[in-house]
Each structure stands twice: as C-alpha cells, then as structure tokens.
Symmetry: C2
Subunit: 328 residues, 2 copies
C-alpha cells in the first residue's frame, strides 16, 4: 500500500464503535484518534497507537488526520458538528433526516467551501446505497415507480430520536415492512401505497422513574419526520428487558423499481440488504466513502458531496486496472 489514509472518529456510540472495526478491516486505512464529549479517561481502547481525546482538542490534529468520520446522531449532533468540522477537516457523516438534507447540504457546503475541504454528507445505506439505487433505477427506467421498504430492523436514527425525548431513559425502534406490499411491487403492478401501508413502527421504551408515560408516548407518536406519519406503537419495558431482548441491531430493506419498456415489458430492479448489525454496516459504508473524500480532496476539489457525486472507483481500494479486469 503506497500511503495509508489517516482517520479520526468523532463520537463513540454504536456507530463509532462499528467504525473502529471497519477501519481495522481496511488495509489502506489507519485510525489516529477517537474524539468524545465525555471524559476520555473513561475509555479503554485496546488498539495500539490509537488515542482517545476530548472533542475540544480536535483542531490540534489537523495535520495528522486526513478524514474525520463524524459518528454522532442526526437529531442534534451532526447539524452542529458537521458544519464546524467541515471548515477544518475532510469529513464523512451519516446525516439521515431526509426532509432536512437540502438545508443541511447548504450549510455544510458553505463551511467546506470556506475551508477548502470535502464533506461527504448523508453516507450509509439509507441515505446512501438505497439512494444510489433509487437514482440508478429512475434514470434507467424512466417509465416506472420507485419503492423503498425498511426492515424488519432496528433503526438507529429513530431509536436515537426516542432516547432524546424528555423522561426517556432508553429505547429502541423497529421498522417492519409489509410482505403483501412487497409482493405487489415485485409483480410490476406499480401499486399506489401510502407510507403507512408499507410499514409500521414499533418502539420499546424504558421510562425514567416517575416520568409521564402518556406524555412520552404522545411526544414520540407526534414527532415530525420520524413518527408522525406512521402507524406507531409504543411499549414500555424495563431496562433489564431492553438489554435482554433488544441489544442486537439488525436491519435491512429493499429498493424496488417496476419499470416498463417497449411494448409493455416489465423490468424489475431490486436492491436489498439483510444486516446482522446496522451500525457496523453503516460504519463500513462511511469508511469506504472516506476513501472517496480523501481522493476528491487530493484532486483539489472541495465542498459538500453526496454519494451521487462520486465516481464509484473512488470508494474502492483497488486500482482502475484491477477493477476493469476483475470486476467489470
């Protein structure tokens, strides 16, 4: 390997932990430091040469880190952190509040342009790989309809949103797709399906002692972007039950397009993921796109970029010759 890409991680929750593991699988990458808002002394990272630092010291690492992987949540962390970091570092984040992406893009683009850095935003599998497939299917089969189904799985973004509700100690959310709806779409019938007909959302919540459960349930069910438009169930459980029954983070989903060409020929395009660990997979996508951020930066490009802006070869550690020979 000619030169290794030096990475930093901001935020050491599930996604940050997955990112550490993903970097260890990538021979062209090297983790330099993990930055946290908590006390760095509380962390024991058993990897040689990797430092744990308080987030306030990040700027001292400008010359030692090529790309900073921002592993905070979309609700409150990334809207603040990405514009701040993008002025000083190439960044990759997984901002996933779909409705707010245009606004987020504008802010981050301004910051990254000022700093002459690359900020890859909204990377992961949705937004991310699913977005890529929605665009590809739409471009190739203009006469057709895109469908996205999620689950069955635990959604990090939605669980994060639950945990930020006042009075909530802990919680998880499962998204469950409708088999009947998927079969209809696979037939090429291009049905009209409301979001609620495609999925429901099931939440398991641990309330803080003395919290107002009715208010928590109401706050979750009416939360805009996350729950308001869905058929949402809220179940209150104990911390012990949560740890015992809901500690894994499986997920997955489907992007399907039924298109028609020529004389009414059905062309069914389908992409799917079945993930034992959602944060580890999302982290793996972030790390691959760190490669792209680094290469775009080396070409003197800057500004906010999405998965739509990146030639695919930029996320691969392999040479163009190898890709043409063995993968085309």
């Amino acid at each position: 390997m000619s030169e290794r890409i030096r990475l930093g991680i901001v935020g050491y929750g599930n996604l940050g932990k997955g990112t550490v593991k993903a970097i260890q699988q990538s021979q062209d990458m090297e983790l330099v430091a993990i930055f946290t808002r908590r006390n760095p002394q509380d962390f024991h990272i058993d990897i040689p040469h990797v430092k744990v630092e308080h987030i306030s010291t990040a700027l001292d690492y400008q010359d030692e880190i090529d790309v900073m992987l921002l592993c905070g949540g979309s609700a409150t962390d990334l809207p603040e952190q990405t514009p701040q970091f993008a002025k000083h570092f190439n960044t990759v984040d997984s901002f996933d509040t779909h409705a707010k992406i245009p606004e987020f893009y504008e802010k981050v683009n301004k910051a990254a342009t000022e700093g002459k850095k690359i900020a890859m935003i909204s990377v992961g599998w949705d937004p991310g790989l699913f977005s890529i497939n929605r665009v590809m299917a739409d471009a190739i089969l203009p006469n057709g309809e895109n469908y996205t189904f999620w689950g069955k799985g635990l959604s990090q973004g939605h669980s994060d949103a639950i945990r930020r509700v006042e009075g909530v100690k802990n919680g998880v959310q499962y998204t469950i797709p409708s088999d009947e709806a998927i079969d209809k779409v696979r037939s090429g019938a291009n049905p009209t399906l409301t979001t609620a007909e495609k999925h429901r959302r099931v939440c398991y919540v641990v309330a803080e002692e003395g919290a107002d459960k009715a208010k928590i349930e109401e706050t979750i069910k009416t939360m805009p972007n996350y729950f308001a438009d869905y058929d949402t169930e809220v179940h209150f459980i104990t911390e012990e039950e949560l740890q015992r029954d809901h500690s894994k983070a499986p997920h997955g989903g489907f992007v399907i397009r039924g298109g028609k060409t020529g004389d009414n020929n059905n062309q069914i395009y389908e992409f799917s993921l079945k993930l034992d660990s959602n944060p580890e997979f999302t982290a793996s996508v972030l790390v691959a796109y760190a490669r792209a951020a680094y290469r775009l930066y080396k070409e003197n490009q800057y500004g906010a970029k999405t998965v739509f802006d990146v030639p695919l070869s930029y996320i691969s550690p392999r040479s163009n010759e190898e890709l043409r020979r063995d993968f085309l």
Copy 2:
C-alpha cells in the same frame, strides 16, 4: 428541457431496436439517425425526422450527433467499430466479453484520446449494473465474497456467438442458475462454487441444411470465454420451433455478497434484475449512460470510460438539487 442530446444508433438488431424505444422514453434525448451495414432502403422506421443511413455515411453526421450508441455484437462488431467510431464520436457500447475488456479498453482509450471524445465501454447490466454492485459490495465489505448468478434467461452475447458458428442458421442460449447455490450464498456461508456449479448453459440451434451437426456442437461446447468452462447442452431444433418457442428475450440475475463485520456479524448485500426483455433493458442502460458521455465530453474530458468512472448523477436527467431533495 434546456437542450436535447442528439443520438445516433449503429446497428439495428435487437439491441438497436430496444435503443430506439428507450430514446423515446427519454425527454431530454432525440434520435437523429440509425446506421446500418445493410441496405437502408429495406428499413421502414416509423418515427418522424429519424433517418436510416448506410454506415459508410456516418462521418457526415459528426456535427449533428452528440453521442453514437454502438449496438453491434461483442464477438466481431464492437472490437472493430468502437475504436473506429471513438475517433470521431462520443460513443457508448455494450462490449461484454469479460476476458477481453482490458485489451478492448486500451484500444478504445487510444482512439478516443486521439479524437478527444468520450467512449463509454461495456455498459449494460453485466458488464454494467452488476459490475457496479460487485465493486460497491467489495469496497464496503472487504471481508467477504462476491457471487454473480445469471438467468434464467436468454443471453444476447452467447446467442450471438452461437449464430456466428459455421453451419448455424439461427440459435439461442439460456443461462440457468442453481437455486441451491443461491440459497447457500444468501445464508452468508460464502461457499466455494465453481462456475459450473453455479449455472448451466442450454443452447437451441437451427442448423443450415446439410451442416455437420456434430461439428457445430463441438465448436459451441469448446468455444473459449463463452462455453468451454460450462456444462453446456446443445439441442437442434427447426426454425419454426425457434420462432414459436424462443422469440422472447427474458433474462435477469443476482449479484450477492456475504460479508462479515465486527464479531462475526453477517451482512448480506443483494442486487437483482428480473427482465421481460433483456435487449430493451440493456438499451435503457446505454441511453442513460449516453447522458453521462455527453456531460463528461462537455467538461472537456476524453478517453475510454467505464461505469466505474462516472458520478451517478451524470446518468440522471434530474438536477443535483432534485436528486438531493427527492432521492437521497
């Protein structure tokens, strides 16, 4: 639409006919002329303003055509035509002899670089969309294995190869995947599978009168790149049977990667197509990538390009703002 992309088609077989239909579905595109080696008078194309011309006149259209879609076969047409045309036109082709792609790339790259044109090579679904998914899955899940399955379906490239065998009047080839093998791969077991364990190839051949059928069968079964490595069946049928039972061109297939992250978590990545019409779908991919060829050319890029070199937004008729807002 600000400006329409002006297209030409070279070769009016199944792929050329599918391309005409795909262009008609694309509002930002306009078909100028179809070029054929046969007598143009023999063709009746019922589309206003579209000319049918002999291939020898193509150079007269340099100022009227932005991108030329090369719809010939990979066995003998494209190895000659793409390097010739790439000197004078931006081109898109579907060269699909995987083993010869590096050599083809070098030749075409030289021609397109001389002519300062863009030559998008090996576009379609395999090579093409399947290649994209092989690279993406490999980059994101380095610890894993890629599997490609084809069919059940009629392969244009392989049927073309059969029809070029001496003594063959007509013929089709079906590729059939093994369900058992697919299930193993979906389980995340990452089995070792030989190509023959994954598929078999079944050929239906119409021999010319008096032809040596044993020799035809032998020639097909030993053809390098196409059949030699596979369990291949050859059935001789009449032209009537061929027209009655094998006139449709369905196809499809799967790219699956079983990868592992972290502590032995299985992450299953799957892409699949189920196509009523293989040539119409391949044509739809060619047309989407004509958009990319045109945009790269407008940026003063040139040379041979593959699907790995193109930012995804370049194949979409939609603006970057729209893609971020509605597809990310």
